[in-house]
């Protein structure tokens, strides 16, 4: 009896304690998540290009190509002795995962590398709209419009009324197909394919010659690049852009996407992929390709430096060909771009740095580091496989055919794409179901 009253009393005390802890939490408005991150300041840069005198320190946070960034900073500081740029390097996954916390904190860097989460940050006013600088500095002339369009987050500029701009590219990327020239010759393939159909025949020829036709590293993003490359050829680019940008009514559940997915399944059934594509990381598939394990390899220009070093003249590159010989060149690509935080105290100095990135001097540094400069005419002509890539990129730019990676459509899209493409490769999903899962995620993010 005694025991029971004790127990009851203790239980009541515990409940009261818990309530006392939780109730004030729930009652306090300031505790509502996100309430402390509202930005009052300006959401756009000024239109003046004058850099104020005095010592200025800019903090730059980035995740790609540290050697290139160091070289760019050194050259910039020589031109602008008053401005000191402090680089803060983070590994890519660290960078992307912490991006939102970093950019909404009180200690946000002045300049930050553009990444997927920036779209949301831009919408909330944490990233400055650079459109006034685009007009003032004339970036439209120095940078191909297709590269700038990727950085508008699909918004219009409040400051200029035109397209918004949330970053400036320094070094562009593109995906495509590498081929081993010696192995290709062994399979009777003497030139890059002109059509998608011809590429399919070359894969078959490689298979007949008892070689592994296509190296895919689908453990991470390699499979996604292949699917996107096929999609680029089959789906009208405008519709693809609408989908990635979250335009109302856009959908990936269309016949072209079904066909791209079916092609992937078909190639898997025919044994065109390396046997363990789903268990191979992209870097590993690249290493296997250098050892001659496959005739073709899907990857991006970021692998070109490594491939050129190991394979020399034995490796070539072409963008995935279109349906007809005369089809425009369309390839996935993005840029190592930099955005300006709304918390910066030196928007003019940041503008000067961004403008420097568009200069021929910066272009040469970017090119020397294996990336494509925004303005390729201003730099020395590369050789070998780097020349193949530069030529392919030039064609894609001329055709307005550089499209962003499909995971830009929503923050959770990368996971859906990666696991979905693995299922396509293993012939474990119907194309319709796969596309349905993508569209679900899209609608979840962009609203009905």
């Amino acid at each position: 009896m005694m025991d029971r009253t004790h127990r009851v009393r203790r239980r009541i005390a515990a409940t009261v304690c818990a309530a006392a802890l939780v109730l004030p939490l729930a009652a306090c408005d300031a505790l509502t998540p996100g309430s402390a991150t509202a930005v009052p300041g300006p959401t756009s840069v000024p239109s003046s290009t004058a850099v104020p005198d005095g010592d200025i320190t800019l903090h730059l946070q980035f995740a790609d190509a540290p050697l290139m960034v160091d070289a760019l900073i050194a050259a910039f500081e020589k031109d602008h002795p008053g401005i000191d740029v402090e680089p803060q390097y983070k590994t890519f996954s660290d960078y992307v995962q912490n991006l939102k916390l970093t950019m909404t904190s009180d200690t946000a860097p002045d300049i930050a590398q553009y990444a997927v989460g920036m779209t949301d940050l831009a919408a909330d006013g944490h990233i400055l709209d650079l459109a006034p600088y685009r007009e003032a500095y004339g970036w439209d002339k120095a940078i191909p419009p297709v590269s700038l369009d990727q950085l508008t987050a699909g918004q219009t500029s409040e400051a200029t009324g035109g397209r918004a701009l949330f970053g400036v590219p320094a070094g562009l990327s593109m995906t495509g197909i590498y081929y081993n020239k010696k192995l290709a010759a062994k399979a009777g393939i003497d030139a890059p394919p002109r059509t998608l159909d011809e590429f399919g025949k070359q894969l078959a020829a490689a298979k007949d010659a008892d070689l592994t036709p296509l190296g895919v590293g689908a453990l991470d993003s390699g499979g996604l690049h292949l699917w996107a490359a096929l999609l680029n050829q089959l789906m009208p680019t405008d519709e693809y852009w609408d989908w990635v940008n979250g335009k109302k009514g856009a959908t990936i559940e269309n016949p072209a996407a079904v066909e791209a997915s079916e092609d992937m399944i078909e190639w898997g059934r025919k044994g065109y992929y390396n046997e363990s594509a789903n268990g191979t990381a992209q870097v590993d598939s690249t290493a296997q390709f250098t050892k001659g394990d496959s005739v073709f390899l899907i990857n991006g220009n970021w692998a070109a430096g490594q491939l050129a070093t190991v394979m020399g003249d034995d490796v070539g590159f072409f963008p995935m060909p279109g349906e007809q010989a005369g089809s425009p060149t369309v390839a996935s690509g993005f840029s190592v771009s930099y955005a300006v935080s709304a918390k910066t105290e030196h928007p003019e100095a940041a503008g000067a740095f961004l403008d420097f990135l568009t200069s021929p001097e910066a272009g040469q540094i970017i090119s020397d580091n294996g990336f494509m400069p925004p303005n390729p005419d201003a730099v020395k002509k590369p050789t070998g496989v780097l020349a193949d890539i530069a030529a392919g990129h030039r064609r894609a730019v001329a055709d307005d055919g550089i499209t962003t990676f499909p995971d830009f459509a929503a923050p959770a899209m990368l996971d859906r794409l990666r696991s979905g493409v693995q299922k396509l490769i293993a012939d474990r999903v119907e194309p319709a179901d796969y596309l349905d899962s993508l569209q679900d995620e899209w609608e979840d993010h962009h609203g009905e």
Binding site: L25, T37, L219, G279, G420, V429
Partner: protein, 297 residues
């Protein structure tokens, strides 16, 4: 509860004084473990992307969780991992303890140290190493091919049927050592005279194990079950490093989903709700294990 002697007031005061000594530690624990947990539970009631103002959705996140097919799949995967992280290591540990209990030799310390080693290596390093071992040209496949089992060789982590088992075996490798270590130290507490007595009574190895070794390991068994089951249900690092949940959703576990939802997908409220559900599930299972092991005593 039960037959406690009545407490006089002086004694009571002395008893309360004990809590004062605990207070600093409790304050730290409260600030860094209890408060964050409460905050997580609070966040789970919001739809929040991690940046903008959150929107109160009450129990909406919980409703969403129970409708999600990927989530159900991940819970199933975690339960499969319990077999590999908990059941198999405990059986192996008991076996080894049983064998060593009968014939005790010097050098038990070294033996224990050897099997404890996997426990000391960071799990991320374990994952990376095993990814190599399981790779196309990794040691596992090389060995299989060397003994003529070419048809069995495959990219284990990329194979839809084999990936979950492959990941589970990594956990078996890690946690078997812990179980063996626990059971061996338990066995060492057993009076040698008990084994002698059993042997004089004519007990064979099996009888000895069942009648002497096993009853003495009840406490260790409860600890091993608790630790390994929690490791299986809360698994994250090994899966993240080896397969990142793939291929498809074959190795996706709830811990991985919490991480993804919160950090890459910007669904912090949903992640918090999932973390709460996972926490409650783990607490319930641990409670059950403790309850069962206590009843047997």
């Amino acid at each position: 509860m039960g037959s406690r002697p009545p407490v006089r007031s002086g004694e009571a005061r002395r008893r309360w004084r004990g809590y004062v000594y605990v207070l600093p530690a409790f304050a730290v624990y409260f600030a860094f473990a209890v408060l964050p947990a409460l905050h997580t539970a609070y966040l789970s009631l919001f739809e929040w992307d991690g940046v903008t103002l959150g929107e109160w959705v009450g129990l909406g996140n919980y409703a969403e969780i129970f409708q999600d097919s990927i989530l159900r799949r991940s819970v199933f995967n975690a339960l499969v991992l319990v077999v590999f992280f908990s059941l198999v290591p405990i059986v192996l540990g008991l076996l080894s303890a049983g064998l060593l209990a009968r014939y005790r030799r010097p050098g038990m310390g070294a033996y224990r140290f050897l099997f404890m080693l996997p426990q000391v290596v960071p799990l991320v390093a374990v994952g990376v190493t095993w990814r190599w071992l399981y790779g196309d040209d990794g040691v596992v496949n090389q060995t299989l091919r060397a003994v003529g089992l070419d048809s069995v060789a495959r990219a284990w982590l990329g194979d839809f049927d084999a990936a979950l088992i492959a990941v589970g075996l990594v956990g078996t490798w890690v946690l078997s050592g812990l179980c063996m270590m626990l059971f061996l130290s338990g066995v060492q507490k057993v009076e040698p005279s008990l084994y002698e007595a059993a042997r004089i009574d004519g007990a064979g190895p099996v009888r000895e194990f069942v009648s002497v070794t096993l009853p003495h390991l009840r406490g260790e068994l409860a600890v091993a079950m608790t630790v390994t089951t929690v490791a299986a249900l809360a698994s994250f690092d090994i899966v993240y490093v080896t397969t990142n949940g793939g291929p498809g959703e074959q190795t996706t576990v709830p811990g991985l989903l919490v991480y993804r939802l919160a950090f890459s997908e910007g669904k912090v409220g949903l992640a918090a709700a999932l973390a709460v559900v996972l926490g409650v599930l783990i607490l319930a299972i641990v409670y059950l294990i403790n309850r069962l092991s206590r009843d047997r005593t």
